[in-house]
Assembly symmetry: C2
Homo-oligomer: 455 residues x 2
Amino acid sequence: MPVSLENHQPHQVVIIGGGFGGLYAAKALKNANVNVTLIDKRNFHLFQPLLYQVATGALSPADISSPLRSVLSKSKNTKVLLGQVNDIDPETQQVKLEDKVVKYDTLIVATGAKHSYFGKDNWEELAPGLKTVEDAIEMRRRIFGAFEAAEKEIDPEKRRALLTFVIVGGGPTGVELAGAIAELAYKTLKEDFRNISTTEARIVLLQGADRILPSFSPDLSQSAAESLAKLGVVIHTKTRVTNIENDIVTLKQGDEFKEIAAKTVLWAAGVQGSTMGKVLAQRTGVECDRSGRVIVEPDLSIKGYNNIFVVGDLANFSHQNNQALPGVAPVAIQEGEYVAALVKKRLRGQTMPAFKYSDHGSLAMIGQNSAVVDLGLINMDGFFAWIFWLFIHIYFLIEFDSKVLVMMQWAWNYMTRKRGSRLMTGEGALAFAQGEYPNSKTDYITINNREPINV
Amino acid sequence: MPVSLENHQPHQVVIIGGGFGGLYAAKALKNANVNVTLIDKRNFHLFQPLLYQVATGALSPADISSPLRSVLSKSKNTKVLLGQVNDIDPETQQVKLEDKVVKYDTLIVATGAKHSYFGKDNWEELAPGLKTVEDAIEMRRRIFGAFEAAEKEIDPEKRRALLTFVIVGGGPTGVELAGAIAELAYKTLKEDFRNISTTEARIVLLQGADRILPSFSPDLSQSAAESLAKLGVVIHTKTRVTNIENDIVTLKQGDEFKEIAAKTVLWAAGVQGSTMGKVLAQRTGVECDRSGRVIVEPDLSIKGYNNIFVVGDLANFSHQNNQALPGVAPVAIQEGEYVAALVKKRLRGQTMPAFKYSDHGSLAMIGQNSAVVDLGLINMDGFFAWIFWLFIHIYFLIEFDSKVLVMMQWAWNYMTRKRGSRLMTGEGALAFAQGEYPNSKTDYITINNREPINV
């Protein structure tokens, strides 16, 4: 359906999702002669790359969130609408919310990704992932709750399971989580307990591939693995999880099965496209890949509909190197900005060349004073990589909001090894105090006739 | 039951509650020859005087919380136990948790107060109070949710009710809440919405007595009322709430009944002693006052049990001026420290004179750049009072934790009128996006044949 240029009403751009893709598209349309409506379920943009810091008690949710309205308050052509989109009608060009219908001329879908448990959906409760603020608070509750429960536990085997943390997935999130939990256990919390020694905690990182951080260069993977080992993290590569049940994680390494008794299992393994991908497929016939991501055209539109675009984690863009672009913030940002530029050009009757991602590199933090940075030509690890990591994240955070002081506070906490944001809140936290362990409905574990893996 | 001095085991002090009373008692026992066990339902101490700042989006919960374990990590004689006390046996000297029993030689009960709805317990859901982090997050959700819903609402009457905020109770919490919401509506959020003007919001403060801040001197009450009026808050004194139903607050002023249509009603009116007061009364026969506070002896012990003490908001200490001391942080701190000193003296065979509260004054913040401070001899209002208010709060906050930078961030936000911590989280926030209004199960209000009060 071609975009009409004779329309005398301002062109209506509707963006679904206020993550990196959607927000940067909206920002880039600030001075365009269009009306923008940004729809999100939440009233804030979340800086997801730092979510693991919320999960491990170093930052508060608000430190990495910016109210969408305040980020866009100067964009007078932009409305923020709090709501959930349930359906799209590409023929009448309408987006359907629970209580409202919004018309669009151009639609940008940027609803991101959610966890994938590869068909084992019951693992979600046993091994939560890290996508939302609520996820992070839940992880925080489990991590700190495990130490609290261990402090009370007298059975040494149960105590050992309470002090075992298994992280499934050796990508950046898994690596960063493992490093942060190791620092918690071996440094931050060292003085805080009386009955347990937190240094007895075991942090186990499981990775299916033959090295962690497979999207980085092999020597950086190696360097990250060494940094993690120095922090006390035990890494198992070429290892798959085959079962999670009764606080036992079953692993497959080659042909061998092993078991780890662990009360806290965290999921950093797979993601899949959000539900909006399915809706688009149904309504437009567009194809999705195996992970539920929408296959997009070279200009990020979808087949047959040149006024519907998909950007960010929900998009599968494979027109560069024949490989889908990874689900990271820089890709989403560049895609969002590209579509905004395309819309502006189109309104002037001009065209745009196909989208092209400029890869400025990848980076992951491994703990206090250590990180790995892969810039293609230049690779870094150790302290300088850490400083670089900090700088990049501060730079992006302050673009939205003047959170400089928050970052200074955080750097200070980091240096002094404080974790100020350790509070366990919500119903689960109160249930915990009443004797219920927060991470499962079952009571404390019992281990019978099981061969614990040597980790 | 007398305390035995011949005991060769170290003297066991058990403290229930990690608020101001309990925590200061524990801190004061740091170098004493006793074993201390501090029991709390939560893993953090909460700086309650700033909770209204969390409710109105200026601070994050972690900014005003300190992990109990980290505050007490250097007190090697002190154990922190996360759990809920269900019962006390004064004869066997035991405190009973869900899954554990703890023996004491000296017991300090510091479990504080909870809201009182004067018998109308169903009001709790309609008009939440402000005692816990969860309360504050819930209030935040309702306040920001009301603006969001108003932005979507097309019916002008419903929109008016969504933009009406009623605060019940004109003590410090009510005054501070009203001032903060007025600043939100009239300043911070001014640029952020497209369909509504947040300056149309009405903030109504209801007070039963003939002036707000009745614990302050009359001229400071007057000055606070003027500051609030300047901010746009409408104050009704000598006004009682007789009903809250279907988003209508019914008031009684003299013999007249009036109604205000308001979607957001916040409770800052009454408190009562926590449940532990009843447990103590049942087990020891000690008397409680009408608000459920435990009547304590001149040394803060309870009648017949010189080794059980009650401090803080749960205690009714009336041996000074024949009036119960107010439920404020300085009283709790001094009581906690007094009992710690008494325990230490007693172990040396010495005695202590009766407890005496030194009143250093009261203070309340009324909004940006304004506060009232009542120091007895010196009273202040306006900007200098605000600076003083800030100074006092920063001073107490940093005593626990190095939150200096957080306070700087907050002062900066205050000056720039930013509210970084506006995120609405939790299940209610998601339900909201799905079209459900977070603060009641009923749908939007309908107003029929009702005479709205002129506010």
